[in-house]
């Protein structure tokens, strides 16, 4: 029943917060928006040296073997600093290889990830942004000892910085939903791979990626042929819960900035925070941040315990999308005009967190999943 952090978890929260606070000031976040690579290699190396990248990867492959719940604390700290690192995409792909990859794939990839030498991402979405198997049209066809991949993917995060990408492809026509999909590890430098960066509100790096007859060794198939969708589903479930941790981290920081501002800003001869209308805005923010944080950690806890978590993950995401957006709105509202100025830090949090909310499903998509679970006879 102890829903609070234990001593070890408290220590990790403190360590990760302090690390990103000192290593990743807003100035660096802003600088990376116009940087070609989009992340600071120096900070990435330090993050690896702290043991953070391999935190939840298996011990036999150079990781620390921590739970997803523990990893959530790390990503919360990343979100808190809106750190421009390709961490989430790398971990989503690496955890999927740890989950469904064979021994040889794990050996080849995971130690490299833990040491910070391999950056990864994943590509499922095509024209339809909803993450449905029937919308996967990119094909992979067997030719000799290779598969040849053709098609294009949208909203691929950190593709420009990634060495390897997990790509969901159609390998057979699916008569049953979810059938006929396979998952491949694709070297992003392979001939036939090209990408274009998308101009987005968030200022993070997302690409449209084209695969033009890209040859991939058969050894790069993750899990069974045509059996990729259940793996993707597990990947998306983990990824969704983990992105919620980032969103919550960013939202809490935005709230703290607003509360701090309320105390310091003098209006009509009094601190802004002494006005009850302002206090009401703050109270609402606390409810939403604490609520989404508890839902997120409940979902991560269930995943860590191996319990069914579909409903809880979707609840966390649906509420994060709605309520953390409101937190950022209230934080902006409390700051007033100054928050519109691009050089003012708060908009970095607003834009990044908004981008994360649009990853892994909208409120409507997740509410539909919850409704199905709740109303099932």
């Amino acid at each position: 029943m102890d829903v609070l952090l234990n001593e070890e978890e408290e220590m990790l929260r403190k360590a990760t917060r302090e690390f990103f606070e000192s290593e990743c000031p807003p100035k660096l976040v802003r600088a990376m928006e116009t940087d070609d690579l989009g992340y600071p290699p120096d900070l990435w190396r330090k993050t690896a040296e702290m043991g953070f990248i391999g935190l939840a990867l298996p011990k036999q492959y150079g990781g620390e073997g921590a739970s997803l719940l523990t990893l959530g604390l790390l990503l919360e700290a990343v979100g808190r600093a809106v750190a421009p690192l390709p961490l989430h995409s790398t971990l989503v792909a690496a955890l999927t290889i740890a989950d469904a990859g064979d021994r040889q794939q794990c050996q080849r990839i995971l130690p490299q990830v833990s040491s910070g030498n391999l950056i990864m991402t994943w590509a499922v979405t095509e024209r339809d942004p909803r993450l449905n198997p029937e919308d996967v049209a990119t094909t992979a066809k067997a030719e000799g000892d290779h598969y040849v991949i053709s098609g294009s993917k949208l909203f691929v995060e950190n593709f420009n910085a990634s060495d390897q990408c997990l790509v969901a492809c159609r390998t057979a026509p699916g008569s049953v939903v979810g059938e006929g999909i396979s998952l491949f590890i694709v070297d992003t430098k392979s001939p036939g791979v090209s990408h274009v960066l998308l101009p987005t509100l968030g200022g993070e790096k997302q690409s449209r990626v084209v695969f033009d007859r890209v040859k991939v060794p058969k050894a790069n198939l993750v899990g069974g042929l045509n059996k990729g969708w259940p793996i993707v589903e597990r990947m998306l479930e983990r990824a969704t819960a983990l992105i919620c941790a980032q969103i919550v981290g960013a939202s809490r920081k935005a709230m703290e900035m607003a509360i701090d501002f309320s105390k310091k800003r003098i209006v009509f001869g009094r601190p802004l925070g002494s006005f009850q209308a302002n206090q009401h805005l703050c109270a609402d923010m606390v409810i939403w941040v604490d609520g989404t944080e508890m839902l997120t950690f409940e979902a991560l806890w269930r995943l860590s315990e191996g319990l069914p978590a579909t409903k809880e993950v979707s609840t966390a995401k649906a509420v994060c999308n709605e309520r953390c957006q409101m937190v950022l709105r209230n934080a902006n509202h409390i700051h007033g005009g100054i928050a519109q100025i691009k050089e003012f830090d708060l908009n970095l949090w607003f834009r990044r967190a908004s981008a994360w909310m649009m990853r892994f499903g909208t409120t409507f998509e997740h509410r539909k999943i919850i409704a199905k679970a709740v109303l099932a006879a």
């Binding site: 029943m1 102890d2 829903v3 609070l4 952090l5 234990n6 978890e9 719940l69 509360i259 309320s262 105390k263 601190p271 925070g273 002494s274 009850q276 302002n278 206090q279 009401h280 703050c282 109270a283 609402d284 606390v286 409810i287 604490d290 609520g291 508890m294 839902l295 950690f297 409940e298 806890w301 269930r302 609840t315 649906a318 509420v319 509410r367 919850i370 409704a371 709740v374 109303l375 006879a377």
Partner: protein, 413 residues
């Protein structure tokens, strides 16, 4: 972090089975908590007074209070099981208010604990919490009912409204009285346990929309109370009261009350699932389905907030804003929840208990009436927001929680 409500152990399962079996064997079906408060009878009152004494003997009435004061000496996990099983068995809750013991534990002398707390926790006597005055609701500190010293005794005069309790009268009315008209606010009150069965104490039921058996008007006219019925010092009433306000404002996670399944959310889900419209379940229509889903989400968040506050209280950690937050969310969610019943059930949501067509025995019609009180009960919604903001230090130094029985009890004096 551990989100299990109770540890998934055999020992806990056996304990649950023990409680369940006892309730099955010892509770008369006719005496179970009626859907409508107005159907609660005098016979039920007598029946449950005795049952509560039996439950107290087993340690199940006040599970987490120390044994030496009549509690069960059990853990929070045991309390969660007990609360769930009592709810499932539709047992009537204790006739005493839940707040008074918290204040006596923190502020009472050892002699007062023996004299008052033991009989209260063992259900030998009953208490009602006596707070609201006619002229002030949320501004509780503006108390005007007066206590004047007379030798070792006090003479009490004043009046109260909206005093909750079952039965004709309790053994004690418990609350603050103004002891010093010249002292500043928050330093001018004493907290008294007032024997209710004596001349000068007049108790009248109030006629409320929600039902007329539960709430009372109280008049105290020259009521004599011995000096040892004053809990804490004669200028410490506000502080004694703060302990129970901390609890009332969510500081103990509702005493585990919301650890039990949320009957009202469950009833809405069942209705949406089982009601057929054009051959399909009502819940399969997107708007009705979404209203129901929102009720589930709110109910779940409400439970998590309560669980957190409850755990903080049980583990003896110092609460910060968690109780205030839980209390506020309860109000906000309650108001949204009533709207969802109307959206999903339409006019059936307003059908009373006596009509056979009323879904779930008319539960929601009663909730609709009850809902009139949600926004102001135990402090208005707008004030609850301010309380929460103060705990976050929005306008000034962070306000700290009042001492509770599991935390800071030693430093209270």
């Amino acid at each position: 972090m551990d989100f299990n409500m109770t540890p998934p152990t055999t020992e806990m399962e056996q304990f649950r089975q023990e409680v369940r079996t006892w309730l099955e064997e010892n509770i008369d079906e006719r005496m179970k908590e009626p859907v409508d408060e107005d159907d609660f009878t005098g016979e039920m009152y007598s029946y449950w007074r005795e049952k509560h004494q039996q439950l107290a003997k087993k340690g199940w009435l006040n599970p987490t209070y120390p044994k030496e004061y009549g509690g069960g000496g059990l853990t929070g996990a045991h309390e969660a099981v007990i609360v769930q099983e009592l709810r499932e068995a539709r047992a009537c809750s204790n006739m005493s208010d839940r707040r008074t013991p918290e204040s006596i534990m923190v502020w009472g002398s050892e002699e007062q604990k023996q004299k008052f707390l033991v009989p209260i926790l063992t259900a030998k006597v009953t208490t009602w919490q006596k707070l609201t005055e006619p002229h002030s609701g949320s501004d509780l500190a503006s108390y005007e009912s007066k206590a004047v010293r007379d030798g070792d005794d006090w003479i009490l005069n004043g009046s109260n409204v909206f005093i909750s309790g079952r039965g004709a009268r309790p053994d004690y009315l418990c609350g603050p009285m103004q002891t010093d008209r010249d002292a500043p606010r928050h330093r001018n009150l004493g907290y008294f346990l007032i024997p209710a069965d004596q001349p000068g104490v007049e108790i009248r039921p109030m006629n409320l929309v929600v039902g007329n058996t539960h709430s009372h008007t109280i008049f105290l006219t020259n009521v004599r109370v011995p000096g040892n019925h004053l809990i804490g010092g004669d200028h410490q009433g506000w502080q004694v009261l703060s302990t129970q306000l901390e609890q009332e404002h969510g500081g103990d996670g509702g005493g585990g009350g919301s650890l039990a399944p949320n009957r009202s959310v469950e009833s809405l889900i069942t209705y949406a699932r089982e009601t057929k419209v054009n051959g399909r379940s009502l819940g399969s229509y997107p708007l009705a389905g979404q209203s129901t889903t929102e009720a589930y989400i709110d109910g779940h968040v409400d439970k998590l907030f309560s669980q957190r506050a409850y755990w903080i209280h049980q583990s003896g950690s110092e609460p910060a804003h968690e109780g205030a937050l839980s209390h506020l969310f309860d109000k906000l969610y309650g108001i949204r929840h009533e709207a969802r019943f109307r959206e999903v059930m339409g006019p059936y949501s307003l059908l009373g208990t006596t009509d056979p067509l009323a879904p779930h025995g008319g539960l929601q019609e009663i909730r609709m009436r009850n809902a009139l009180a949600i926004s102001h009960r135990a402090g208005s919604l707008n004030i609850a927001k301010v309380v929460l903001a103060r705990r976050m230090g929005v306008s000034r130094t962070k306000e700290r929680a009042a001492p509770m029985r599991t935390k800071g009890a030693k430093s209270a004096h």
